[in-house]
C-alpha cells in the first residue's frame, strides 16, 4: 500500500432522523414498579399544569437506538482514526485510561453539594490538579471553575477588572494583537472592556515600539498568545510584560498553545499575571465533537483574592469549599467546573510526570518543524520566524491557479485526513495552519506530507480536481449560504 491508497471504500449505512424511526409501543427502557402507594397524578398536581403527550417524540427499542447512533458514528472523522492537523486546536490522542478513571463510580455519582467529609476524594483531585497546573505555568493559584477556554478568558479579564477596581480605576481598554483568536475580543466585550488591536511586526510578533506608544492609563491589560497563533515565540515577551507592569497594566496570556512549552518555559516566569489553560488541548481531555472543554485560570498572587468562589481550601479536618471570599469576582459557573475533565487531565499529567511533559512539548515542536521542512517548497511559508508547535503557510502559490485554502483542506479528506485550520490567523491571507501534536508517528506525518505534496501538484496540474473536492465523502460541500438563508434547525412532524 502506498500513501495514496489510504482511502478504501467500505459500506456506510444511511440512516433517517430518530424522529422518522420507531413504532408506537416500542420501548428501550423499563422502570421498576412504583413502590410507594399509588395515586392518580391529578390528586397531587392540578391537571391544568400537566402536559399532554409530546408530539413527535419517537418510540424506539434498545436495538433501534444502538443501531441509529452506531450508524451515525461511522460518518465521523475522529482522532482514533487519524491525524488532525488543526493548528491551534492541539488535537492529540486521548489516552483510554483517562476515560476509565473518570468513570469510576466514586467520581460519577458524587454530588458537589454533599458535606465536605463525603467528597474528600474529589476535592483532593481538584487541589492536586490546581497545584500541577500552577507549577507547569509558573503561577501561584488556579481556579478550575471555567467551563472552557473562552470562559476562562472571561474569568481572567473579570479578575483583571476587579484588581484595577480595587485600586480605584477599572480602566477601559484591552490590547489584543491582530493575530489573536476570535474568542479574545469577544471575551473582552463580555467583560465590559473595549478592544484595541495592536499590529504585528514583520516577524509576526508584537511590535514593542508600537506598544510603547499606546499603553496609557486607559489600558487595563494586554491579552497575548504565546507562542502566538503563528506558532512563533514572542521573543520580547519579558520586555512586553515589564512595559505593561511599569504602566500599571496587567498581562493576560491565552494558554491555548501551552503544548509547546511544558517544562521548557513558564508564563509566570516571563511576567504573565493570568492565563487560561485548555485541558481539552494540552491535557488530552477529548473534544467530544465540540465539548465539553475545560478552561482553568491560573493567576499570580496579586489576583488570587479575586478568584471565582468557592476555592478548594484545606484545614485540619481535610479539604473544603471556601465560599468566604469577599473580593471574589463571584461565580462564573454553578458548582466548581467540569470535574470529569479534571480527572482526565490529572490522569494525563501523572502518567507523564516532569520528564514526560517536557518530552511532549519537545516532540510536538519537532513534528511541526518536520512538516515545515518537508512542505516549505510546495507551500509558501507565511513567516520565516522559527516555528514551535505549529507552522503557518499560505495558499499564495496555489492561488495562482485559483486553488484556495478551503479547497486544499477539502481535498485532504480524499486522502484520509482532516483539513488543517484555514483562514486563521487573520493576518495571513489564505492561511493554512498545521499543528500535528506529539502523538503522531513519523509514518503518519509522512503520509500527511505526501498527501499535501500530491495536492500541491494537483493544484498546479489539475486545479479543478482540488476545487471540486471532496470526492470520497458521504456528501459534498454543503451550500452554507443557502442553509443560513432559510435555516431549518429542527425536525417537525408533517
Amino acid at each position: 500500500m502506498n500513501d495514496h491508497q489510504r482511502i478504501a471504500t467500505h459500506f456506510s449505512l444511511n440512516e433517517r432522523l430518530l424522529f422518522e424511526e420507531g413504532s408506537a409501543g416500542r420501548r428501550g427502557f423499563d422502570l421498576p414498579a412504583l413502590d410507594v402507594p399509588s395515586k392518580n397524578i391529578s390528586e397531587v398536581i392540578d391537571p391544568s399544569l400537566l402536559r399532554n403527550e409530546i408530539p413527535g417524540m419517537p418510540e424506539l427499542s434498545e436495538v433501534d437506538v444502538i443501531r441509529h447512533f452506531t450508524r451515525l458514528s461511522t460518518w465521523n472523522y475522529h482522532i482514533d482514526l487519524g491525524l488532525y492537523p488543526l493548528g491551534s486546536c492541539t488535537m492529540k490522542y486521548n489516552p483510554k485510561i483517562n476515560e476509565r478513571m473518570a468513570r469510576l463510580e466514586g467520581f460519577l455519582l458524587v454530588h458537589p453539594l454533599m458535606p465536605a467529609e463525603l467528597i474528600q476524594g474529589a476535592l483532593d483531585v481538584q487541589k492536586t490538579l490546581e497545584q500541577c497546573l500552577a507549577e507547569i505555568s509558573g503561577m501561584d493559584a488556579v481556579s478550575l471553575q471555567p467551563a472552557a477556554g473562552a470562559h476562562g478568558e472571561m474569568t481572567g479579564l473579570l479578575m483583571i477588572r476587579a484588581w484595577h477596581e480595587s485600586r480605584g480605576n477599572p480602566r477601559k481598554k484591552i490590547l489584543i494583537p491582530d493575530s489573536a483568536h476570535g474568542t479574545n475580543p469577544a471575551s473582552v466585550t463580555i467583560s465590559g472592556y473595549v478592544v484595541e488591536n495592536v499590529p504585528s511586526n514583520k516577524r509576526g510578533t508584537v511590535d514593542l515600539d508600537h506598544l510603547k506608544k499606546v499603553v496609557n492609563e486607559d489600558v487595563a491589560a494586554i491579552m497575548i498568545t504565546n507562542p502566538n497563533t503563528l506558532g512563533v515565540f514572542e521573543t520580547e515577551i519579558a520586555e512586553i510584560t515589564e512595559l505593561m507592569h511599569s504602566r500599571g497594566a496587567l498581562v493576560y496570556m491565552d494558554g491555548a498553545n501551552l503544548n509547546a512549552m511544558m517544562g521548557i518555559t513558564r508564563p509566570g516566569d516571563f511576567g504573565v499575571d493570568v492565563l487560561h489553560i485548555n485541558l481539552h488541548k494540552t491535557f488530552t481531555t477529548p473534544h467530544g465533537g465540540g465539548g465539553p472543554g475545560s478552561g482553568p485560570v491560573a493567576v499570580k498572587k496579586i489576583l488570587e483574592p479575586f478568584l471565582p468562589y468557592p476555592v478548594v481550601a484545606k484545614k485540619s479536618e481535610g479539604y473544603f469549599f471556601d465560599y468566604d471570599r469577599h473580593q471574589s469576582i463571584g461565580k462564573i459557573k454553578a458548582y466548581n467546573g467540569q470535574f470529569g475533565m479534571h480527572v482526565r487531565a490529572l490522569c494525563y499529567i501523572l502518567a507523564n510526570g516532569p520528564e514526560g511533559l517536557k518530552q511532549v512539548s519537545e516532540v510536538a515542536v519537532l513534528n511541526a518543524n518536520y512538516i515545515r521542512a518537508k512542505l516549505k517548497q510546495a507551500y509558501a511559508l507565511a513567516y520565516e520566524s522559527p516555528s514551535l508547535h505549529e507552522v503557518v503557510f499560505s495558499d499564495r502559490i496555489q492561488a495562482r491557479k485559483e486553488v484556495h485554502v478551503w479547497d486544499i483542506g477539502k481535498r485532504l479528506m480524499d486522502y484520509g485526513f482532516h483539513p488543517p485550520t484555514v483562514h486563521f490567523p487573520l493576518i495571513v491571507p489564505g492561511a493554512i495552519m498545521i499543528e500535528p501534536t506529539e502523538t503522531e508517528s513519523k509514518q503518519e506525518l509522512d503520509a500527511f506530507i505526501s498527501a499535501m505534496l500530491a495536492i500541491a501538484k494537483e493544484a498546479d496540474e489539475n486545479p479543478e480536481l482540488v476545487t471540486s473536492a471532496p470526492h470520497t465523502t458521504r456528501i459534498g460541500r454543503i451550500d452554507e449560504a443557502a442553509a443560513a438563508r432559510k435555516p431549518v434547525l429542527r425536525w417537525r412532524p408533517d
Binding site: 447512533f69 476570535g182 521573543t235 473534544h287 463571584g330 519537545e362 520566524s385 482532516h418 456528501i475 443560513a484
Partner: protein, 428 residues
C-alpha cells in the same frame, strides 16, 4: 527528522526562546506513574467520595438512573474523540445527533427552536439574560429569588459590567413568585422577567400568569428549568419567550458538578440573537441532504468583539447523552419517570408531615424537591442521619438565611420506599 529540519538537536528547536525565559530545571510535579499505579491512585481517591450513602441532595443536580446504553454509545471514539464539526463532510454523525438534540429540546420546552447546547444551566441563564438585553435593548431585569441561588450568582457576575440592573422578586409564603410584587416592579423599562420552574424550592411556578404580566409591560418572559425530567409531564413554561436550563437529568452523570449540558430554546423570530452553536439542514451541489453548522455570523470566530457571545464550545458529548437518553426512555418512559418523581416526593412529604415534628414549608404543587424546616439544629440532625449513611439534603442557611433551619430535599425515582422511610425515621 532532525537532519530533514537541518539541526543537530531537539534543543535547537527552542533557540527562539530567550535564555532568560527558559526553565532550566524539571517541573516540580509528581513523578510519572505507570498504568497500575494510576488505577490505584484514582481508585483510592474515588473511594474517599461517599457514593454508598442514600442521598436526598438535589439543588440543580439530580440523581436519576442512566440506561447503560448511554455510556456504551458515547464511549464510541467516533463521537468522543471527534473535533467540532466545522468540516461537515466528515462530521455528519455529530451534526445529525446535535440536530436531533435541538429537536428534542424544542419539543420538551415547547419552543420553536433550540441551540446545540451551552456549558450548563447557570451560564445558560446568564446567556439568556444577555440575549434578552440584545432583543429588547433594555437593561433592567426582574429575577425571582426562587431561581437557583448559584445561577443568580453567575448571572450577577456576567451582568455586572454590561450595564444590567437586577432586582430580585421575593416569594410568597406559598413558595412561588409574589405576583403582586412582580407587578409592582414591572415598568416599560424592564427587559425580562426571569423565573425558574420548578423553582429552587421544588415549587411549580405560575408561569402563565408571570408571562402575561411580563408581556403586558413589554418585557420578555425567561423561564429556567433546572430539572429537565419535569418537562416529561409538566406543561413547559407557558408564554415564555426563552426557555433555558440544565439537561443533566437526561442521562448525564452528576460527576461532582460537571460536565453537564445547558440548553436554550426560543421563538423563531429571535434565532439570530441566540448565543451558541446551531446545526441546520442543507444540501450539497448534487442535492444530497446533510447537516452543517449554521448562522455562524453570530459567533466569535467571525464577528470577534461584535459576537452575540464569547462562547466557542458547546457540550456536544453531553448533548449526545441527553439525546440517547431521550431516545431510549421514549415519551412514555419519560412520563413514567416524571410521575414516579412526583409520587415518591409526595409520599416523602406526607410521611414527614405525619411522622415527624418538622414542618414542610410551602404547599406546592411540587415536582421532586421540597423544603423542611427542622425543629432542631441542622448540623446535629445531619450528623445523626450521616451515621446511618443518609445525606438529608442541602442546608438553605447559606442561600436563604431567613428560612432558619431549612433543608432542601430531593426525591427522585431512584429513591426506594425503604430509603425514604429510613429518612423519615431519622428525622422523627
Amino acid at each position: 527528522m532532525l537532519a530533514e529540519i537541518g539541526i543537530d538537536s531537539v534543543e535547537q528547536l527552542f533557540s527562539g526562546i530567550p535564555e532568560k525565559s527558559r526553565l532550566r530545571r524539571l517541573l516540580d510535579i509528581p513523578k510519572a506513574l505507570t498504568e497500575p499505579e494510576l488505577i490505584d491512585y484514582f481508585r483510592e481517591r474515588a473511594a474517599r467520595n461517599a457514593v454508598d450513602y442514600t442521598s436526598f441532595v438535589g439543588g440543580g443536580i439530580y440523581r436519576h438512573h442512566i440506561p447503560i446504553i448511554v455510556d456504551a454509545l458515547i464511549s464510541r471514539s467516533e463521537f468522543y474523540t471527534a473535533y467540532t464539526p466545522y468540516q461537515a463532510e466528515i462530521a455528519q454523525g455529530t451534526l445529525q445527533a446535535i440536530f436531533e438534540f435541538q429537536t428534542y429540546m424544542a419539543q420538551l420546552s415547547g419552543m420553536e427552536v433550540a441551540n446545540a447546547s451551552l456549558y450548563d444551566g447557570s451560564t445558560g441563564l446568564a446567556e439568556a439574560v444577555l440575549m434578552a438585553q440584545r432583543v429588547t435593548k433594555k437593561n433592567r431585569f426582574l429575577i425571582a429569588r426562587t431561581v437557583h441561588p448559584e445561577y443568580r450568582a453567575v448571572v450577577g457576575t456576567y451582568a455586572k459590567n454590561l450595564g444590567i440592573q437586577i432586582e430580585l422578586i421575593d416569594h410568597t409564603p406559598e413558595g412561588g413568585v409574589d405576583l403582586a410584587k412582580l407587578e409592582a416592579a414591572l415598568r416599560k423599562d424592564v427587559a425580562a422577567v426571569v423565573v425558574q420552574s420548578p423553582n429552587f424550592f421544588g415549587t411549580i411556578e405560575k408561569t402563565s400568569q408571570i408571562s402575561d404580566l411580563a408581556h403586558k409591560h413589554e418585557a420578555l418572559s425567561v423561564a429556567n428549568v433546572c430539572e429537565a425530567i419535569s418537562l416529561g409531564i409538566l406543561k413547559p413554561p407557558e408564554g415564555a419567550d426563552i426557555v433555558v436550563g440544565e439537561a443533566q437529568s437526561l442521562g448525564v452523570p452528576m460527576s461532582f458538578g460537571g460536565p453537564h449540558v445547558g440548553f436554550l430554546a426560543t421563538r423563531d423570530r429571535y434565532v439570530r440573537q441566540m448565543p451558541g452553536r446551531l446545526v441546520g439542514m442543507g444540501k450539497d451541489q448534487s442535492g444530497h441532504g446533510g447537516f452543517v453548522l449554521t448562522l455562524s455570523t453570530r459567533e466569535q470566530h467571525i464577528r470577534r468583539e461584535k459576537a452575540t457571545s464569547n462562547i466557542c464550545t458547546n457540550q456536544s458529548l453531553c448533548a449526545l447523552m441527553a439525546t440517547v437518553y431521550l431516545a431510549t426512555v421514549g415519551p412514555r418512559g419519560l412520563r413514567e419517570i416524571a410521575e414516579q418523581n412526583i409520587l415518591k416526593t409526595d409520599y416523602a412529604v406526607t410521611q414527614i408531615w405525619s411522622r415527624t415534628k418538622h414542618r414542610v414549608l410551602f404547599p406546592g404543587p411540587r415536582f421532586n424537591e421540597f423544603v423542611v424546616e427542622l425543629k432542631d439544629d441542622y448540623a446535629l440532625r445531619a450528623q445523626r442521619l450521616l451515621k446511618n449513611k443518609i445525606v438529608p439534603g442541602i442546608s438553605l442557611s447559606r442561600f436563604y438565611p431567613e428560612l432558619g433551619n431549612a433543608v432542601l430535599l430531593c426525591v427522585t425515582e431512584t429513591a426506594r420506599k425503604e430509603q425514604i422511610d429510613a429518612l423519615v425515621q431519622g428525622l422523627a
